[in-house]
Symmetry: C2
Subunit: 209 residues, 2 copies
Amino acid sequence: MTEQNLATASAGANGREQLLSAASQLMTELGSIDVSLHQIARRAGLTAPLVKYHFGSKDGLLLALAERDTKKSLEQLEELMAMDLDPATKMRIHIHGIIRTYARYPYLNQLLDLLLWDQESESSRSIRMGFMRPLIEAQRKILEDGIASGQFRKVEPEFLYFLVIGTCLYIFSTRVAVHELFGETRVRKELATKYSAFAADMILRGISA
Amino acid sequence: MTEQNLATASAGANGREQLLSAASQLMTELGSIDVSLHQIARRAGLTAPLVKYHFGSKDGLLLALAERDTKKSLEQLEELMAMDLDPATKMRIHIHGIIRTYARYPYLNQLLDLLLWDQESESSRSIRMGFMRPLIEAQRKILEDGIASGQFRKVEPEFLYFLVIGTCLYIFSTRVAVHELFGETRVRKELATKYSAFAADMILRGISA
């Protein structure tokens, strides 16, 4: 590592943030997580060895990116759970939140899939415990509160989980179908917002008592 | 090609079917479409050059597999469209049909994604025209008939498409979440059937007038 690079690296979290942000931009543009360390470093205006310096390996960078991208959603979910709102409103806000996250990071599902794949790996465990589990538990809690208060009918929380995530996710994972139906490959913010309202409405009608 | 292989190849559609079936088995077992021609040939008890003989290339085999796997669903969809049933019943049967297809070929979405990816390719065009378009059109027709008859409320057919496919698909594309919630990585037939009923019920409640 050159003195120049070390100087950049030692400029604190800066190089790290730059690399994550470059990876995120590239993946969004390409619609794929299949980007090389060289591409990421070049986009960040840094060099590939700096990735190793900050993240240890490409897997380290991918995990850090997944953590960065899910962190805000999880914080918002925790805030939502603590709020004094009825379960239907919480569920609606939760659904909008998931779609907003996928709209912001359209590569996120691919990234999580890759990191989760090897169930024995540290990355997989980290995503399961740090993201998947809290999401499952929060959703289950909202559902159970709604059933208890009589707002929701009794449905299986496990089934609802797959339905909610699938509903929120698919539009962001199929560029070709989006192009076929809307004439563009990207799901723009306006479309995502309209789809959010539709998805939340459909799911709430589905579980209402 | 040896005489032995040519003899097998010339035994009509047999070698072809064997190879498709071997590819399908392997992809189902591995939960991934990432299998080599050698693995496929070995599983079929044939040799890799026979794949070239029957399909031209690996892409040719993958396209033939996607066509084989979607053919029956499409025929059933055409039959459904021609039947004298009310739109809600048609939509319910349609949703069960999609889930049955994914349950039978859990790798199908990955396969279609791969083939669709390069929108300019012949494979992508073939899947779009031969599968995606007919599916979109059938769903739109059922929805419009239901709106016209007063059974359904007015919703955007494009939005409904993403919701229906996502709802049907996700449980088959996330082994880790399935394992987390049900303790197994495979979605067994019994689970798929129960999920079908749930999904159809949720969607019908969502669009009912």
